[in-house]
């Protein structure tokens, strides 16, 4: 059997950036491999956008290194950017120009021929072909969002960085974009970094992910493995909250009291441990009224941040 080692596309090592008095990114390490859909998670102000801007050479770094396609970003900026497509935060275009003209100009900026068929195909792929000749200022937020994704594909880059690509889209638009991301990865072999607050986007599309908070890496790894390992928590509804806290804490569990009536205990644990916790409570004459086990990325994300 031949083991193929995956090639790193983006390697971030010890990157820090201070914006004013705020440490936006703090000694961040990150690695994105070829053909990954890499989920990039973190609450507002966690440093996601700052990190993405540093990857795109829009922001300087205070320390650390960024290598993309195996080359240092600083010395190979133009070459690297020529093979990257980026959509950052919100789609802004030359509003006084049409969608078609915006894409034509961006082709020229990218140094690729502005072939009408290619531009029209791009517009079609994001459902905007019928509005090709409308000025962008007449577009809704969702349409601009789709055009924003379209412009990342114009020069057929190997690496896409999509920051909140489904923000502002209706449910069918969200589904279309998720399908597009998956097909770009599966059919065209694109490596994609997907930053999103819609945690479902990550859960449904990404194979690897990281979570950052206050500029620091909290966790990085395979989405499936991380969910299996960490993302369970169980809510026990009990009749004696104080006793339950005492008993479970003395047994070494990390707990939190939740619920409007403060009658529930949240315990972060694997699914296999739930019967054991139930047994401990029952053995201490605590009535367990209900048990609910949750597993999804959103819960995991909230647990960690």
């Amino acid at each position: 059997m031949i083991l193929m080692q995956k090639k790193p596309v983006v390697e971030i090592k010890g990157v820090s950036k201070k914006l004013g008095s705020i440490q936006a990114v703090d000694k961040l390490d990150m690695c994105v491999y070829e053909n990954d859909i890499y989920g990039f998670l973190g609450p507002n102000g966690s440093g996601k956008s700052t990190t993405i801007r540093m990857m795109l050479a829009l922001l300087s770094r205070d320390s650390g290194s960024i290598n993309i396609f195996g080359k240092p970003l600083d010395k190979n900026r133009d070459q690297i950017l020529g093979n990257m497509g980026a959509f950052i935060e919100k789609p802004d275009f030359y509003e006084y120009l049409t969608a078609y003209k915006n894409l034509e100009l961006l082709c020229k900026y990218s140094g690729v021929p502005a072939i009408p068929d290619k531009i029209n195909a791009t517009l079609e792929s994001v459902g905007l072909l019928d509005r090709a000749n409308s000025k962008v200022k007449t577009f809704s937020k969702g349409m601009k969002q789709r055009l924003g994704i379209g412009q990342t594909l114009l020069h057929d880059p190997d690496l896409l960085i999509l920051d909140e690509p489904t923000s502002g889209l209706d449910p069918s638009g969200v589904k279309d974009i998720r399908d597009l991301i998956r097909s770009l990865n599966r059919d065209k072999g694109k490596t994609i970094i997907l930053s999103s607050h819609q945690l479902q986007d990550i859960e449904m599309t990404a194979n690897r992910m990281c979570i950052i908070n206050k500029g620091k890496l909290i966790v990085e790894g395979d989405v499936g493995e991380l969910l299996m390992k960490h993302s369970y928590f169980t809510v026990f509804e009990v009749d004696q909250i104080d006793s339950s806290v005492e008993v479970l804490e003395s047994s070494g569990f990390e707990i939190e009291i939740i619920g409007n009536d403060r009658n529930q205990i949240k315990v972060v644990c694997k699914r296999e441990i739930v019967p054991e916790i139930n047994k401990i409570l029952v053995n201490n004459n605590i009535a367990v009224k209900s048990i609910g086990t949750k597993q999804n990325l959103e819960d995991y994300f909230l647990t960690l941040t």
Binding site: A57, M84, D92, Y94, L105
Partner: protein, 278 residues
């Protein structure tokens, strides 16, 4: 580079605001010329009333050359503002509208991006000056005809009509360099700002304050006058002195060109380090 310049020019001339300056210029010049049609003789008579006691004046003195000379003097304060309305927005406008994010993530170096902006601003200024010269001189000659030019620049200078056109062509050429210097200053300030209004206002504030200092003949300001760019902006007027020293005019033009290159270099230096946060 040519491709980038084409893109920048396309963007400039696709925006309605770029034509506001042209429209204002056309209106001001036409109003000035209409005023000269109605009041020109009277105004000229008033200005030269003291001279008529000593000199006998004959011929078409309110002619296209005189009107152009007056329009040049009237407009020298307004033209920089009309040009800066567009050039000061070229970089900061992209920051304000967020388009930096899609343009600067393309394989275009920041130095090339700024160079294209500078060249486009110069082209816009050139077009502006061509319209200015054609409207003021061309239309002036067409409406008022040719004649000798009488100007008061230090002393009374009267130039025969055959000795005037080259002075105007050089004056417009010098004016182009002056306006390019103002445009370069506005681009430097534009690169430091994330909104459109601040560089327009700050450029005009600098021009007004420097002009004020340049025109004050006080000893304390005399020492700093050579270091103010406004000292050299109106050196085209030297072309209308009787014994014009072209060497002095070219030295002043060279000093303005040096300003342009310093502003350009500073813009690239600062913009390469600029964090794009908009």
């Amino acid at each position: 580079m040519l491709r980038l310049i084409q893109i920048e020019l396309y963007k400039i001339f696709k925006q309605k605001r770029s034509y506001i300056g042209f429209a204002a210029l056309i209106v001001i010049i036409l109003i000035s010329q209409l005023a000269m049609i109605w009041e020109g003789e009277e105004m000229h008579g008033f200005i030269t009333s003291n001279l008529s006691d000593a000199f006998f004046m004959q011929g078409n003195l309110v002619n296209g050359y005189l009107v152009t000379y007056l329009v040049l003097n009237f407009l020298w304060v307004h033209v920089p503002l009309l040009i800066v309305l567009v050039t000061a927005d070229l970089i900061s406008g992209e920051a304000q509208s967020g388009t930096f994010r899609i343009v600067l993530t393309r394989p275009v170096s920041r130095a090339r991006f700024i160079t294209a902006k500078y060249i486009s601003a110069m082209v816009y200024t050139f077009v502006f000056m061509v319209i200015f010269s054609v409207l003021s001189l061309g239309a002036g000659l067409w409406i008022f005809g040719k004649g000798d030019l009488m100007v008061i620049f230090g002393t009374v200078n009267i130039f025969s009509e055959n000795d005037v056109l080259w002075r105007f062509l050089l004056a417009f050429g010098y004016g182009f360099i002056s306006m390019c210097t103002v445009a370069a200053l506005s681009l430097l300030l534009s690169s430091l700002s994330n909104n459109s209004l601040a560089p327009i206002l700050s450029t005009m504030a600098i021009i007004i304050v420097f002009t004020f200092i340049s025109t004050l003949n006080l000893g304390i300001f005399g020492k700093i006058k050579p270091f103010l760019l406004t000292t050299y902006l109106d050196s085209w007027q030297m072309l209308f002195s009787y014994d014009v020293n072209l060497g002095d005019v070219f030295i002043d033009a060279f000093i303005l060109c040096a300003h342009i290159f310093i502003f350009y270099g500073l813009t690239i230096f600062l913009f390469r380090k600029k964090d794009i946060l908009t």
